[in-house]
Symmetry: C2
């Protein structure tokens, strides 16, 4: 591996000059510049990124924290971030947090110990306080799909309340009056907001929000199944079901089928997130889009602006949209 010294020697200049040519910050006489470029070419010189990092205390790497690597949601998220960042010559160090407090903390510390220039996080378990404190250190952070009081500049969020509203309003428009709801863990902000939107839609339609028609799950397929069974056991009739994410919707769908129901005739179902598998399930799932890839990309842009001097346009709040497929149908009294 040739070093900058060898380039300097071959070009007959000092290494400072080589560095200047390489970084293009200071002006260099055209003749010398060309000699340097020629030498670089001939030696096939590539700057050592480690040495460069040591000298300018910048690693050109961004740490990313996701909950899982093998889930559709996070795949899209990382894809968006990687694309954007690598186009800028930065690299992405990915860590997994598993929605577990200890693991997430570990991951963040790991990323810090690797001298990342910034962090982009989909932090689920970390507390607001922890994040605020992290923000105190000079390490820039960006939060995907999360709202933290006092960190709004670094946050991108989805209007979850609106999403929940859209899902339920769609069913109301189809004539459904008795709508059950399988919620996510209510201590999560997004779960709470989606449910709130659901209730708003009901209330706008002049319908009561019957808590007997609400089940709290934890976003897993299994809980979709459990939820449906439990709701049916309560013996209140309902012709439609909103699930706070697609996993639970998928669970509910296979459960319903196992119970011998025919879908969507016997039960209309709406999901949330528009996961890739939403059109694999049968019937294809009506759902609410969750532009997390856009949010992730925006986080990347924010970091590129903040740390690497780019100036992308920034947007922090994203809107969900209803996506109508085949799992919902007009209510036939």
């Amino acid at each position: 591996m040739p070093t900058i010294y060898q380039v300097a020697e071959r070009a007959g200049v000092s290494l400072s000059t080589v560095s200047r040519v390489l970084n293009g910050k200071a002006s260099v006489n055209k003749v010398l510049r060309e000699r340097v470029e020629k030498a670089v070419e001939e030696l096939n010189y590539h700057p050592n990124s480690v040495a460069r990092s040591l000298a300018n205390s910048r690693t050109d790497s961004v740490g990313v924290l996701v909950s899982e690597l093998n889930a559709p949601f996070f795949g899209d998220l990382m894809q968006a971030i990687e694309l954007r960042l690598r186009a800028a010559g930065k690299h992405v160090i990915i860590t997994v947090g598993r929605d577990c407090l200890e693991t997430e903390k570990d991951a963040v510390e790991f990323l810090i110990s690797r001298n990342c220039d910034a962090l982009i996080m989909h932090a689920e378990a970390l507390s607001d306080e922890y994040l605020l404190k992290l923000n105190q250190s000079k390490l820039p952070i960006a939060l995907v799909n999360r709202q933290v009081e006092g960190l709004s500049e670094a946050c991108t969020t989805l209007d979850n309340e609106k999403g929940g509203y859209l899902a339920t309003r769609h069913l109301l428009e189809l004539g459904h009056k008795n709508i059950a709801y399988i919620s996510g863990p209510i201590e999560k902000r997004d779960a709470k907001l989606r449910l709130k939107g659901h209730k708003r839609a009901l209330s706008e339609a002049g319908l009561p929000a019957n808590s007997e028609l609400i089940f709290e799950g934890n976003y897993t397929e299994e809980d979709g199944k459990l939820g449906l069974l439990e709701l049916m056991a309560r013996d209140l009739p309902f012709s439609a079901l909103v699930c706070a994410n697609d996993w639970m919707a998928s669970g509910a769908i296979s459960c319903a089928r196992d119970l011998g129901m025919s879908l969507p005739q016997d039960l209309s179902i709406v999901g949330f997130d528009d996961s890739v598998f939403a059109h694999h399930v049968y019937p294809r799932l009506t759902t609410v889009s969750n532009p997390f890839a856009d949010m992730a990309e925006m986080s990347a842009k924010y970091i590129l602006n903040k740390v690497y001097g780019q100036s992308n346009e920034i947007k922090r709040s994203f809107e969900p949209e209803l996506i109508v497929r085949e799992s919902t149908i007009q209510y036939e009294g």
Copy 2:
């Protein structure tokens, strides 16, 4: 950020001694060691990983190349690698190759320029020659799910021929005699081998391999759909269909349903890979497992052995297994 000098000063020793304590390679007097440890503790000292990398020309990072970030397959693969590597304190730099020659090359060069200690690749587009040449440089590489002549030490592979055989034999055992096959792109080794296994099963059963019952797709959902339509247009009866991956099986399933067929009564379908969505499709997909996560983990272990002095047991060849779900059924003449 405290440096090693400050630790040395506080402990009243030279920085060499601090380094020795930190790295535990040379023996240090117990008294001094404890003074150093105390100082480290008090200053909350963390070695600067960049400086360390510069000094010992090792970055403790492993580059990973995958085709996509947002596909189930690669999620599992990365999850396995990340888990293993981070447990060893190494980090993972992920790049995306998109199954495109230029992009894959770019990605590899990018990883090299980041001074990775090793590369783990799921290289689809790169040629054997390129990989052999890459292997010439002292940079250790590992290849997931690929077999390259002359690089077998670095490769982990699946017995694709056996997988294809298992899929078809399963259908034969169910009494099917006319079995159609939607293959992957035949220039891909795995596609070729899966098809070969299919033919072997037929031949063992004394049945001819009718090329009219074979369609070559490119592993996409769309091509599963196209394939089924094309095969049906050929007007040869078949009661079962093997698809060389789950995506195509999923496409074929929705296509069949759109055609008004009832599954699996009218057509038994087998997939390949056991993707996460295999049990989302309806009917749940009978398929052949592809232990890519195991292969990926093994690649990680191989690198840990080769580069970081671990000594994990290594296995290079993996076996697929038939997973029977609900998309296949006994043939009722």
